[in-house]
Symmetry: C2
């Protein structure tokens, strides 16, 4: 155990793109758990696009992070001291302890996990929030039928990679959109998608038509902006769109969408969703995902930043698509 | 019975706004019904925004009208000659016989109606396709809960006027958007909406905030464009949008929408729908609507053009919002 805790707090709110100076690394004493609490040493911090929204002081589905407060974030680690009847030192736990080495919990949002089956970091990705997001968005919101075409944006990312692999397992055609030839190769050759479109290649519409000869029945949308607008023009009658993220818009003025008329013409169902509001589905989703990960049918990939001090740079890189797979920060 | 049939055919496809020369009035012989068919003398022709889409040669939910063919449209009239076992001369019938004085039907899309209870033209409006559209969009798609706020665009129109009145009957707050002070007065004072916003007054956002102090739970969208984009910014968490029409976009380039992010932030369910694809709900809807019209709880208003030759001008005026209530053409 180090002598001090390290934390990254929100120093200022970004005007557009997040900058390193929006964060501040601070040192503090390691907190002492009170009765009913426990102290966790975090091993991995998860970096996720939703955190960008928490940096704004605007109305959204969650409270903004207060200036000077520790950044919110999912973590997985080990209990080092427990005054809680249900946890003991040595337990591996996943929770929401934020961008810091040590955190106190009352146990209410903490889950014990099995470190023997998969690496701890997997509980922040394929067997955590991103994996469940993929499962709920695809199977509960998009509700494809056998043989239908599923398109997912940010296809090599933590969520998108699971969407496409689940789609294949369930018998759908899986088409990814990703930035760059390397990510697209990974999506098709490693993850088994039927096709992947490199949106940086500059011929999105032509590539999209070639990759979706029967149109799009289900769109799992993570990106927004011009890509989303283009995809809207390829939707089939009675198709469904799960709006999970709009990462292209988090740092800039919204892209002016021209193809909303497709919602009417094609009688599309479009639904925004937040995975934390579908808690009753988590156990079902995690059980299926664990089975597929255990059997090797679902693969995953991580970008691992080393040390808490690297979290801001890794986060900024992720918002620009520089990560490749689930972005985590190793804290031990 | 006149000696000749009169028809309006599609002469050319509009480039943007519909022009009178896109139509042509032609005279032809009155057709003779064959065995299993019947001849109807139309009394009223319905003019509806969806017809604009049929004039285009683009992929949509319905086939375009062929150049030279009679324009499609709902009609109500009287059987003048029947070779069909289920109909006889004198029967009043509602159907889809198009922009013409006489039409032949095989009976399959024809419904007998009771001319004794309401004027025949009502079967083209409040007790026809527009009324059922309002009912399905509000109650099946938007699914409001008691006390919630329903906003409807084109509120004084054939569909919008029924949406707001149904909303009040079912215990929701009803807010209309309409063009001009006179339409807004009608919507509030005659139809009983809680509020109406005149979008032509030039302060839509301020007026919207005042009229929806608790935000919008259900949006019944008929108009699209800048108004729709503004309304998106006022939607509540878990709100619903029924996309019924986008009349502002039917004649011009699509308005660039900036507020699609609200779908994610507010976990909105948005759904486009076409009333003819919800046939099993029509009897339920019509039964309820007939009850409310009979008891006077639902009122309606018509713009009546006189004679088939006036149909093109009336249609063009409706696309510009010049009608006031359901637009029909009187053919007798």
């Amino acid at each position: 155990m180090t002598e001090k805790n390290l934390q990254i707090v929100l120093a200022s709110r970004p005007a557009a793109w997040v900058e390193a100076e929006n964060f501040r690394l601070v040192e503090s004493d390691i907190p002492e758990p009170k009765e009913g609490e426990l102290l966790v040493r975090n091993h991995y911090l998860s970096l996720d696009p939703y955190m960008r929204g928490r940096m704004n002081d605007t109305k959204s589905y969650a409270q903004p992070v207060v200036i000077g407060a520790v950044m919110v974030g999912g973590t997985v680690g080990e209990v080092v001291k427990s005054c809680h009847p249900k946890f003991q030192a040595g337990d591996k736990v996943v929770g929401q302890l934020g961008w810091q080495l040590y955190g106190i919990s009352d146990g209410s949002l903490l889950q014990k996990v099995d470190a023997g089956k998969v690496p701890l970091s997997a509980y922040l990705g394929v067997l955590g929030m991103p994996g469940v997001t993929a499962w709920i968005g695809l199977l509960d919101i998009c509700t494809p039928k056998a043989g239908e075409t599923v398109v997912v944006t940010a296809a090599s990312g933590a969520v998108g990679s699971v969407v496409g692999q689940l789609a294949k397992i369930h018998g759908y055609r899986a088409v990814g959109i990703a930035g760059g030839a390397e990510k697209c190769r990974y999506v098709v050759e490693e993850l088994g998608f039927d096709a992947c479109i490199d949106y940086k290649a500059g011929k999105l519409w032509a590539d999209l038509k070639a990759a979706t000869p029967d149109g799009i029945d289900c769109l799992f949308e993570n990106v927004g902006g011009e890509i989303f607008d283009t995809l809207l023009g390829r939707m089939n009658p009675f198709s469904r769109i799960a709006v999970c993220g709009l990462i292209s818009q988090y740092n800039s003025a919204p892209y002016p969408m021209k193809n909303i008329g497709s919602v009417l013409v094609n009688r599309i169902k479009m639904q925004g969703f937040i995975v934390s509001e579908h808690l009753p589905r988590w156990p079902v989703a995690l059980a299926e995902l664990a089975g597929h990960v255990g059997s090797g049918r679902i693969k995953y990939r991580e970008s691992v930043a080393q040390g808490l001090a690297q979290a801001p740079a890794a986060f900024i890189g992720m918002l620009k698509g520089q990560n490749f797979g689930k972005q985590v920060v190793k804290l031990v």
